[in-house]
């Protein structure tokens, strides 16, 4: 019998087991490649009619045309502007109100029933009303994004604040600090990573509501481009619009994830 030293094999499928970084990243890339290959296959072999699913090539050509004509940048600019303003408005209000609700039972009692009521109302249904109230300009788009995100965000920020351990607050009292000092130096500092994550999640929703807002009453923007293409059955343009929104959403997500790691390195459990 030979005793060749066996190399410890890395197992891929252990419950919560770690796997090599390259395998992890490679699998993700491979899956996207597989998806694109399936798309290529279905369209190039004309298994699916281009009216239902345009060839990858057509979408690429459309991208180049729109980029060269400047339509793409115009649409992206308009949409990013609407998202930013709408989401910032929601966040600027959700932040103080959520913090008050998380810290003081009075404000929780004051706002929560109303917030709960409104958050179950579909934002989409507000489209005709907002047009009536605010017209068809950007303000109406901000309003839809605001309605879609604010009422969820305020509750999430309340929870972020409530998740600060009680003992951490109590130990601060024993240092002789006042409640306002504790609120500022302890509670908000401790809640910040959670709040940052709430930002990341809510801005994702803002993208959804942007399209809702732009599908009706807009003449520029990614959602509008999709809507217009629908009228002429230009599926390549629709898919391009969807892809661009997907990529922009991914970029904002990466931005918040990367800044999270930079801002809160002390959140990583290293031991």
């Amino acid at each position: 019998m030979t005793t060749t030293p066996r190399r410890p094999r890395t197992r891929l499928f252990e419950l919560r087991g770690d796997i090599p970084r390259r395998v992890y990243a490679g699998a993700g890339v491979a899956f996207i490649a597989l998806f694109l290959a399936a798309w290529l296959l279905l369209t190039e072999l004309q298994i699916v009619s281009p009216i239902f699913l345009p060839p990858l090539r057509a979408v690429g050509e459309e991208l180049i045309i729109q980029a060269q004509e400047g339509i793409l940048w115009q649409d992206v600019g308009a949409s990013v502007y609407r998202i930013s303003v709408g989401w910032l408005l929601a966040t600027v209000l959700a932040l103080p109100i959520g913090i008050l609700m998380g810290n003081f039972r009075f404000f929780e009692g004051l706002f929560e029933p109303f917030v709960d009521l409104v958050r179950y109302m579909p934002a989409v249904a507000f489209v005709p009303l907002t047009i009536l109230w605010l017209g068809v300009g950007d303000t109406q788009k901000f309003a839809i994004i605001f309605i879609g995100t604010f009422f969820q965000e305020v509750l999430m920020i309340m929870d972020n604040v409530k998740n600060v351990p009680r003992d951490m607050i109590q130990v601060s009292y024993t240092f002789g600090m006042s409640k306002w000092e504790i609120l500022w130096h302890v509670v908000l500092r401790a809640a910040l990573p959670g709040i940052w994550d709430t930002f990341r999640i809510t801005i994702g929703w803002a993208w959804t509501y942007l399209v809702v807002a732009e599908l009706v009453a807009a003449n520029v923007g990614l959602g509008y481009r999709i809507m217009r293409a629908q009228r002429f059955l230009e599926t390549d343009k629709i898919i391009l619009g969807i892809l661009v929104i997907g990529v922009l959403g991914l970029l904002t997500d990466y931005f918040f994830k990367a800044t999270y790691n930079r801002l809160f390195p002390w959140m990583q459990e290293t031991r």
């Binding site: 109590q170 130990v171 240092f175 500092r189 002390w266």
Partner: protein, 271 residues
């Protein structure tokens, strides 16, 4: 006998006095429940006193009341003869859970407790350095809590509770979350620190050996509603080390005595 009691009272000054204290919880529905009934105890200056009892007997509640973090239903708690009025820097507190601020380094965590001390920067630096040395964390000044083990985190918490020179230290099962090995090391470390600082300590634990090893005196509490069942003087010689003290015949005797009392109560609570 009376003469002797008189002399001991002459030489010992009471640091903490709990006089006929009651704690009653009134749930939203149902009857009021007494958590503590007519409880009195005294901790003398420079004394190490432990409070042991079956789980749910209200020992932690009493500690929180002494810290000023929990309202007293009836009775009075005095420190140096003055009635306590909320939490304050005259009583340092160490909790079972990790209450370090994760965004601050070890030295900044300890310095944080000096925020309201009015001391200058150099004085603060000196105190922080002294207390880091006291708990043996030299070299970890710039580490964040996420880089420390559980035992090290509690050492920082102890340093932080001592740095503003409180009149006494209130400890709520500070080693309860640690593994057995670390706990033993921490008990010895705490005794070393206490030998140096001679801070008055009230220590809550359900670990009988821990209480005997550390204390000058032990109060055994009854099952809920909590009252004082017995007061036991721990006449073991100091300085103590775990190996020597625990192999002392007197230690075994005391251990049996305290365990018997607690078992009685635990059994009563189970009925």
């Amino acid at each position: 006998m009376t003469a002797m009691t008189a002399t001991t009272q002459m030489t010992q000054t009471a640091k903490l006095q709990v006089n006929d204290v009651w704690k009653t919880f009134t749930p939203k529905k149902g009857q009021a429940v007494d958590a503590l009934q007519d409880l009195s105890l005294t901790v003398n200056a420079n004394e190490f006193v432990s409070l042991v009892g079956p789980s749910g007997c209200g020992k932690s509640t009493l500690l929180m009341m002494a810290a000023g973090l929990e309202p007293i239903s009836e009775g009075r708690i005095l420190i140096d003869g003055r009635e306590i009025d909320g939490p304050g820097p005259d009583r340092g507190m160490v909790f079972q859970s990790y209450t370090l601020f994760p965004w601050l380094t070890v030295e900044d965590n300890i310095r944080f407790a000096l925020k309201k001390s009015g001391l200058g920067r150099t004085q603060q630096d000196e105190l922080v350095g002294d207390h880091i040395r006291l708990v043996g964390l030299e070299g970890f000044e710039r580490s964040h809590p996420n880089q420390l083990s559980g035992g090290m985190r509690q050492r920082v918490a102890i340093a932080r509770a001592l740095v503003y020179r409180p009149e006494m230290l209130l400890m709520d099962e500070p080693f309860g979350a640690l593994d057995a090995q670390t706990r033993m090391l921490m008990q010895e470390l705490l005794l070393q620190v206490w030998q140096v600082e001679r801070t008055t300590v009230l220590f809550v634990t359900h670990d009988v050996e821990e209480a005997i090893f550390l204390s000058d005196r032990i109060y055994v509490m009854t099952a809920r509603p909590g009252r004082i069942k017995a007061e036991i003087a721990i006449d073991l010689p100091r300085p103590r080390t775990l190996l020597e003290t625990e192999s002392d015949a007197r230690f075994a005797e005391l251990r049996r005595q305290v365990l018997t009392l607690i078992r009685e109560e635990a059994r009563r609570a189970m009925r």
